[in-house]
Symmetry: C2
Subunit: 330 residues, 2 copies
Amino acid sequence: MGGDFAPRAPITGSLHALSELPVEHDIELVGRAETIESELRELFAGEFATRGALRARLHIVDASDVVSMTDKPSSVLRGKANSSLVVGIKRVADGHAHAFVSAGNTGAQMAASLLLLKLHAGLTRPAIGTIFPTARQPILVLDSGANVDCSAEELVQFARIGAVYARDLLGRENPAIGLLSIGEEPEKGNAIVKDVHQLLVHSDLNFIGNVEGRDLPRGACDRGAIDVVVCDGFVGNVLLKFYEGIAPMLVGMVAEVANIDAQSTMRALTQLDAEEYGGAPLLGVRGVSVISHGKSSPRALKNAILVALRAFESGMTDDIGHALAQGSTT
Amino acid sequence: MGGDFAPRAPITGSLHALSELPVEHDIELVGRAETIESELRELFAGEFATRGALRARLHIVDASDVVSMTDKPSSVLRGKANSSLVVGIKRVADGHAHAFVSAGNTGAQMAASLLLLKLHAGLTRPAIGTIFPTARQPILVLDSGANVDCSAEELVQFARIGAVYARDLLGRENPAIGLLSIGEEPEKGNAIVKDVHQLLVHSDLNFIGNVEGRDLPRGACDRGAIDVVVCDGFVGNVLLKFYEGIAPMLVGMVAEVANIDAQSTMRALTQLDAEEYGGAPLLGVRGVSVISHGKSSPRALKNAILVALRAFESGMTDDIGHALAQGSTT
């Protein structure tokens, strides 16, 4: 029931995901049963008229409450215990489902995931990683908004979590971890970043040193390719939104001087397509909870479901737990 | 003597500046007299063969030491007291010159400006503002690298300083000040940003509230156009370098899909031309000291000289002093 285009977008996205996935994969649609059933009737009479077999792999889990985008995250668990958000995450917490995906209220999803799935030992808060397209391979930037005031220890945890993500979800061997700063020298940066640099140098991670803003677009610094960029959620969120804004602006400027069509050019830049990943798993909780943008299209949600599946199948959740436990002993 | 292309680039830039300026403006070239004289002979025999009259408006101030890019800023004043950097800034401090421009060691220029020109009362450190091109009017982002760990009071000072800059140098009436954060609501941001928000709300500045990363490329937020964006120097520097890196990357991507030439397209995007402003005045010191990029071309340095002149003629230095004094009493 979450997101600007619910329930149509999540249901259509689910049908597209099932179409791509082997038959052993099923999807539970959590929300108002009547609304979902009526949407399904329409879809199977229209776009999916020839795919009636998919219906058997869809299961409706009734949840009468709907969390709005303005509901306070802290009050959702108590005030809207029968919402699609809370019921869906409970399905994962109880072991009935392997992963949860939503385009609803992000803060509420974080709060409910935190309370129902619980954090790994040693973590104080979960993190969110975002995939940044670069001139080369995509890179993971974390935290990108869940944690604004971070201690040095928390930033080191992001590095550990990011390394697991890069390996399990992006397929990078021995991921190269960069620390976002304002100069490559260890003494450059704010007080916390300088501390984190020293902690990472002495860690077992493949730390390639400080990286600068200019290294992100090229996916590399002078010491080689970057897989993970560690920063606090304030800087990460500012950068993420700056990136979202600058791409269409620059493409528009180029379109004007080169006399080409901006919209079709933007579409042709498939590397920049934010729908390609569709969602970001909340990192550090004991279960897969994938957060999608409120404006997610069916295609974005289909891809978010595939991300959720990859997170589950790769064992990312347990791997993060191991990486954090290992970190706390070294 | 400072910068990657010294002494040719600063001397050529000075000649171009004099060509554009009324005859009452003179330029002092500070550095090794013999080197400068030999460069001038070459230039007046070549590129400036028909502009011999400019020679009378150039004055050589001999300074035998040269500050390298690797010299420690803190040791330059004592160790290289007869460098072009120190001698040049002293000319301003002593009232013999109205403004100083350099493409040399930025840290050393900051340190020498701070010690010789002194800070305005109430300031703990100077700030650097950078002009960001946007889809509309250029905006000023400060601090962009001089101050990495900032208190709430320092960020409010940046807002005051930025307002003066936007009025005196960019010609904005009643400049609109935005505070960089991760959401427009006052309660969004890290601990310091939330404090700054409250301080700015209760100030006499034209504070338009929090702005997000995505608002910078469009030069506006939902409440209207932005003139100044306030942030700490860590975030500002990361953003500045990200911008420098992302523009050629995106233009290159577009050039590939649209089959146009990337280099000529980049050149056609005059809005993105970093040489247009050429240099950034160090803000908060009692005198004009303009910092240019080490890689500055003659054209960039010509524009930096014009920025320095505008800063002097507008009375920016005194205006900043008044704005800070006013702020401390309200």
